[in-house]
Amino acid sequence: MVSAHTLTKKFGDLIAVNGVSFSIDPGEFVFLTGHSGSGKTTLLRLILRELRPDTGKLTVDGKDTSQLKVKDLPAFRRAIGPVFQDYKLLLDRNIWENVALPLEVRGVKPADIHSAVRMALDLVGLAKKIDMFPGQLSGGELQRVAIARAIVGKPKLILADEPTGNLDPKTAKDIAKLLKDLHSELKTTVIMATHNAEIVDQFTLRVITLDSGKLINDTPKGKYDQAS
């Protein structure tokens, strides 16, 4: 699903991602860990093709991201469901409209949008709050809306960048469990970036650890690497 080969990304003199290589199979759930500034977000932005690598090769869903042209990006991104730490919800749209967004931009018929949004909101447990606006929801609920938006288009890959970063410990665990449950139910590949050791250790899943842009650990059934 995702394959990186000696991937490097620099911002001026700063090497954010430094010669990283890994491969993630379809249907895997992978934790991407490391302290702040280790390169997790940059790596996710490279996968989402918000950034281009300076050197190396990154293939997502069989597509070399360096070769993608601007006009190819919408179709490419429709295969990915992104979840962000700051939710990135549209404040002037209600929950229903926020979740429907990925389908609306694809020109999906209203009836199909209706059933898909209903299903996504059922899965995240927010079916009763469809008319509410983001300003009326708690942090945990906002992240659930963001997750519903990420899964509504049935993506092949979910990229969650510190989805629990703004949440209290209990809600953070709930969100991580929700992502794991959705992964089990939908069989979607999930890459979740986090520096929350408790959450990583809650599951026994593959852990890729970055430190100063370098991949220092890739364990199939790992725990949080405290050394990082």
Binding site: K71, P74, F76, R77, R78, K88, L90, P102, V105, R106
Partner: protein, 292 residues
């Protein structure tokens, strides 16, 4: 399309002052464009009117009645130049009829004049206004022709005026369109900047450039359509209000009132121009945010 239009209308409603500014500048520019177009079209119509009228009137001596052979000779000599569009002989009796028709409202003038007092004449029109002087010079050499009058001076002045209106008009309108485009670009640019977070989200969930740009382009188009309509309305009202004065000023030149169809075409042109300027402004405003 309906969805994007609704979005554009919502955005206009939510920022009324920006919308008023955009529509006002659009109205001003399109009013100027429309007014100058009407002035130019009117001048052209007056010019065409003069060009299609018999432009040379050559009057025989008052006490002279030209024989048919002389009229035919003059006709054939003028025809030989290849410059004549039409040739018409006006006899003394015909001249009296024309005189009576022109002065039918004044019986005193009618009683005092007889056919013998009026000169016979020939009316000659040319294909090109510039050829009038050649024909006039030829007629002046005729011994029995007393006076030759033609509208060369009027046509020359009118042609100059029409050309000036076009040049000044195009320059003024071009400059104003550029300024309007920049203001629309600025107004919509501010809105785009205010929605850059939304644009980023839309891009990340797979929206195409056209999907993101469409509401902003529609917004610009709506400003243009409204501005065009208002400008046309103001212009038409001013034209209708000035009609009595203009009809008197143009002294029988039948170009007023302008046909409704023509005015509707002007409306279409104004709205199209406005929509193009506004739409381009909207497109350019979003372009810089859609590079990645």
């Amino acid at each position: 399309m309906t969805k994007h239009l609704k979005t554009a209308l919502n955005r206009i409603r939510r920022s009324p002052y920006q919308a008023i500014a955009a529509i006002s500048i659009m109205t001003m520019t399109l009013f100027l464009a429309g007014a100058l177009f009407l002035l130019s079209a009117g001048s052209q119509a007056v010019l065409n009117y003069f060009e299609t009228r018999p432009q040379i009137n050559a009057f025989f001596k008052v006490d002279y009645v030209p024989p048919q052979s002389e009229i035919d000779r003059i006709h054939s000599e003028l025809d030989a130049t290849g410059l004549v569009k039409s040739f018409h002989f006006v006899s003394k009796d015909e001249a009296l009829t024309i005189y009576k028709d022109l002065n039918k409202s004044d019986p005193l003038l009618l009683d005092a004049v007889t056919a013998s007092m009026l000169p016979a004449s020939v009316e000659v029109s040319a294909y090109q206004p510039n050829d009038l002087s050649v024909l006039a010079d030829k007629l002046k050499t005729e011994p029995n022709i007393d006076d030759v009058r033609y509208a060369q001076d009027i046509l020359g002045a009118l042609t100059k005026w029409t050309n000036s209106v076009r040049v000044v008009g195009l320059t003024l309108v071009g400059t104003n369109i550029l300024i309007t485009f920049l203001i629309i670009l600025l107004i919509i640019g501010v809105k785009v900047a205010g929605r850059r977070e939304e644009i980023v989200v839309l891009q990340l969930v797979g929206a195409t450039r056209s999907y993101i740009s469409a509401p902003f382009i529609y917004e610009g188009v709506l400003y243009g359509l409204l501005g065009g309509f208002i400008a046309w309305g103001i212009m038409y009202l001013i034209l209708l209000y000035s009609m009595p004065f203009l009809v008197t000023f143009l002294a029988g030149i039948p170009i007023l009132p302008p046909p409704i169809l023509f005015m509707l075409e002007v409306l279409g042109g104004e709205m199209l121009l406005g929509a193009l300027v506004g739409g381009m402004g909207g497109l350019m405003a979003t372009k810089r945010y859609l590079k990645t």
